[in-house]
């Protein structure tokens, strides 16, 4: 039981660090200094402490709750070194679908805001989800099929059995590449950041999000970064043999999209769909074809 409390906590902390890392990398690439160590945490606290908190109704608020809660639940399905959490009770497929709940919650919350701009943003976000989930499920299928199990615990065990040679990335390089691609889109990072549209917040889903609503989304982002990195690590990098290697792997995984993100402009939604359906999906299918024959 204690694991179930520790796992989200660890995820949150790691996620905070990731946000920090993201902002630092961005700053480096743009020749800035970057924020201090605890800046993400302070941001969250500050947002929660704001005096004007405008709510558009209960669903608006529950949407944020769902967004946070979904990730809190999802991270317990991803085994950490020494902690399996609920990985035995719900496998990979459950995890993938669990990670859609925050999206749904966010969508509901934004919808309740009664702002057409927000709805447009959700339309974009869901379309993008349709795009990146396809290569992602291809990847998930490939891994599950390769290891003959949908249980992450068993997948990790199988990967760790023979060192690097049995890691997913070594066994299934094409799938690993496709997964990276999909993760980029999943995190909403450039060039796939149209639906979050942080630069044009007024026409995105966040338009009505202020104060603790935005704070909640900040927390969600921490979980999201962590979840993406951890999932990739679990699928392709052999999970964590111990905490050190786990952290290294997770941060390395997240660092890649961060670095790529700052090099690219932005795609339109349709272009995202087209690109993601074309390349990572194809590569993923090719990878599965290699696995099966």
């Amino acid at each position: 039981m204690i694991e179930l409390i520790l796992m989200p906590l660890a995820a949150f902390v790691i996620g905070l660090a990731m946000v920090l890392m993201m902002r630092r990398i961005g700053a480096r690439l743009q020749r800035r200094v970057g924020p201090p160590l605890l800046q993400p945490l302070w941001d969250i606290i500050k947002l929660h402490g704001k005096e004007t908190q405008t709510s558009h109704g209960l669903i608006h608020e529950l949407g944020i709750v769902m967004a946070i809660g979904g990730f809190v639940a999802a991270v317990t399905l991803m085994p950490l070194p020494g902690m399996n959490g609920l990985a035995e009770q719900g496998g990979l497929i459950a995890l993938v679908y669990m990670m859609m709940i925050p999206s749904l919650g966010l969508a509901l919350g934004v919808g309740q805001c009664a702002n057409p701009n927000g709805s447009i943003g959700i339309s974009r976000a869901l379309t993008a989800m349709l795009a990146y989930d396809i290569p992602m499920v291809i990847v998930v299928f490939g891994v599950a099929f390769f290891y003959g199990s949908t249980s992450l615990v068993q997948i990790i065990d199988a990967q760790q059995a023979g060192g690097f040679a049995t890691w997913g990335i070594a066994e299934m390089p094409l799938l690993a590449f496709a997964g990276l691609f999909a993760m980029q889109a999943m995190l909403g990072k450039q060039p796939f950041e149209i639906y979050v549209a942080p630069a044009e917040i007024a026409t995105g889903p966040m338009v009505e999000m202020g104060g603790k609503f935005l704070g909640g989304l900040f927390i969600m982002q921490c979980f999201q970064l962590y979840a993406a990195g951890a999932l990739y690590t679990l699928l392709f990098l052999g999970g964590g043999e111990n905490w050190l290697t786990f952290l290294i792997k997770v941060f390395a995984v997240v660092a890649i999209p961060m670095s790529i993100a700052f090099l690219f402009p932005r795609y339109r939604t349709e272009d995202v769909v087209r690109l993601v359906w074309k390349w990572p999906a194809m590569i993923g299918l090719l990878g599965i074809a290699f696995l099966m024959y």
Partner: protein, 622 residues
């Protein structure tokens, strides 16, 4: 008199009572009670776990024996049928019925149609041989036609379209049965089963085409899906729920009888499709997968809530067949279980939509919005429903879909897996559009005074929602039925637990998952409500509108063409290939008809008599 006789008799009694007293106000409640009695009688038959229960009625026509019996499969489908009838009658029993009467329709006709549907379905499900199967099939088709047509107007046209499809399908089935009869000399299951193995592959293909095709019409499998959405959507409220919940599943039942019980998955796998590397099983699975994808994305385009859900109904049928075609324990269980989960989901969803129609008078997604503030409980029902429909945890739909996915992974069917997920994603998109356009966004001025749905309609909706959630949390009991059905079909039974599936290679335990999800929500709520300051509720118009100020008489709602970007991309794919097919067939019939008419109009009679005389004489002397 066996317990099955009692069940059918009470069902027939329901029909008779509705015919007699359907005009009265009490009729609705009477129907509810009678459906409940039927449900209890069904429970009493014990057909699920014990031996099949036979009816004492047998008929013999042309030396063809007909008899009726219930086994676990029949019981399972009958349970859903009567349950759907119960909830739909409940929904109709109160305010809805009065409104229906006020609108100039006949509640009696509606109750009769519903009772007839339940009765005929029970008869179909009891069929003990192929002839009684066909008879039941026809009865169900016409009962559905009745229910569809009672709406009048566009419903009549849609029902007629259904009729043409269904009846053509019925005739194809009859042709297939005659094929079986010529080959085996019998229509009895056991005898046919023992002789079916001797059929050549070509004959089995013909059989699949004729009988399978006929059954597929009812299920709305591609390419016979065009009739279904309009026919189901235009049916009066509870009727639509009923049809959506179970009617098309009769096609699945019959397909199970044909594909699983009679031919067997093994036979299908052994049959190669000529010139390809596919087997018959793959082919059917792909038809199922395409049935998932194409109607789902057509649903995405709809801007009538009823049509949207009806199109999804077609797509969800694809999952069921897909799961069955995978054929392993988890997959077939998933397919069967989805019949149940989807049934309660669709019923709840359509009830919610019709509750909105009841209050606002429209189901047009472009003319609604913001109703969550006025109809919060209906919103909740719809929310539960869409989560289940989209197959997200923690609702019932997730479990059944998870099982289908899991089996696809286990059997190594990547493309089908992707197809299934593509369908799910499309579902998520379109159900969000559904809930957003009805309940979220800005409330329209004309709906300011709308009230929550009346209690008589709300209760069954809430009941179904509870069921959706409970089955999602503890699928075990329901899975035990499914396992019994599998056992009766000769399939490996699914290893179920109270919370889900036991599988050493990755199982599912919904108790834990829902628990942690609830805990997660709790944490989220703690953070959100505990950490921050109090939030201030503002008017829905008090939001950022790009520098404009919104006035109270102008409402902005982003609803029309909700996924404009996506449509821009995939719009060109929406070509009416199947509609063209249908039109081409109609045109062929019209052409033939014109030719025949011309014959009777313009033929020089004497010339034809002469020609016939010559032809016949030539035949005799030749």
């Amino acid at each position: 008199m066996t317990s099955l006789d009692h069940l059918v008799l009470v069902s027939a009694l329901t029909l008779a009572l509705m015919l007699l007293f359907g005009r009265m106000r009490i009729a609705g409640r009477l129907a509810v009670v009678l459906y409940a009695v039927q449900f209890l009688l069904l429970m009493q038959t014990g057909a699920l776990l014990g031996e099949p229960v036979a009816s004492s009625l047998t008929l013999s026509v042309l030396d063809l024996q007909m008899h009726w019996r219930y086994d676990a499969l029949s019981w399972f489908f009958a349970m859903i049928t009567i349950g759907a009838g119960f909830f739909c009658a409940w929904y109709a029993a109160g305010v809805w019925q009065e409104r229906y009467r006020e609108e100039g329709h006949s509640p009696r006709l509606f109750h009769v149609a519903l009772a007839a549907n339940v009765l005929t379905m029970l008869i179909l499900l009891g069929s003990g041989d192929l002839l009684s199967l066909f008879i039941g099939w026809e009865l169900v088709s016409w009962a559905s036609f009745l229910l569809m047509a009672v709406g009048g107007g566009p419903a009549g046209r849609a029902a007629l379209r259904y009729l043409v499809y269904a009846f053509s399908g019925g005739m194809a089935i009859l042709a297939g049965l005659m094929l079986i009869y010529t080959q085996t000399g019998s229509l009895d299951y056991a005898r046919v089963l023992s002789l079916l193995g001797e059929l050549s592959d070509g004959q089995v293909w013909l059989l699949l085409l004729l009988i399978g095709g006929g059954f597929a019409v009812k299920m709305g499998l591609l390419p016979f899906h065009l009739w279904q959405a309009a026919a189901y959507a235009e049916t009066p409220g509870p009727g639509s729920s009923f049809l959506g919940a179970i009617s098309a599943r009769m096609g699945l039942y019959a397909l199970i009888m044909l594909l699983v019980a009679m031919l067997g998955i093994g036979r299908l796998t052994a049959m190669e499709v000529p010139f390809t590397f596919l087997s018959a099983r793959d082919l059917i699975a792909w038809i199922a997968a395409l049935t998932v994808i194409i109607p789902t994305y057509i649903a995405l385009q709809q801007h009538d809530a009823r049509y949207l859900l009806a199109w999804h109904g077609i797509g969800q049928g694809g999952y069921m067949l897909l799961g069955l075609m995978v054929g392993n324990a988890v997959g077939s269980a998933g397919g069967l279980f989805h019949v149940f989960t989807y049934g309660i989901t669709q019923a709840a969803l359509l009830m919610a939509v019709f509750a909105v129609v009841h209050r606002t008078g429209t189901a047009d997604l472009n003319k609604l919005g913001g109703l969550v503030a006025r109809m919060p409980l209906t919103f909740l029902v719809l929310l539960f429903g869409i989560i289940s429909l989209a197959g997200l945890p923690p609702m019932a739909g997730f479990v059944s879909k998870w099982m289908v996915y899991r089996s696809l992974v286990a059997e190594g069917m990547p493309l089908l897996f992707v197809a299934a997920v593509v369908g799910t994603l499309g579902t998520i998109l379109s159900v969000y559009k559904l809930i957003h356009n009805i309940f979220l966004g800005q409330l329209r001025i004309e709906h300011e005074q709308v009230r929550e749905a009346p209690l008589s309609m709300l209760l069954p909706m809430l009941g179904l929602s509870t069921l959706i959630f409970l089955v999602g949390v503890t699928p075990g009991p329901a899975l035990s039925w499914v396992a019994a059905v599998q056992a009766s079909l000769g399939l490996p039974p699914v290893p179920y637990t109270l919370g889900g599936i036991e599988d050493p290679r990755g199982g599912l335990d919904m108790l834990w998952l829902v628990g942690i999800l609830m805990a997660g929500f709790g944490v989220g709520a703690l953070i959100f409500f505990g950490l921050g300051g109090r939030s201030k509720r503002v008017h829905q118009l008090d939001n950022y509108a790009g520098g404009h100020f919104l006035t109270a008489d102008v409402r902005y709602q982003y609803s029309d063409n909700f996924y404009a970007g996506l449509m821009h991309l995939i719009g060109p794919w929406y070509r009416g290939a199947f509609l063209w097919l249908e039109k081409a067939l109609t045109a062929t019939v019209a052409f033939l008809s014109a030719v025949m008419n011309g014959f009777y109009r313009y033929a020089q009679p004497a010339l034809f008599v002469l020609a016939t005389a010559v032809a016949l004489l030539a035949l005799t002397t030749a």
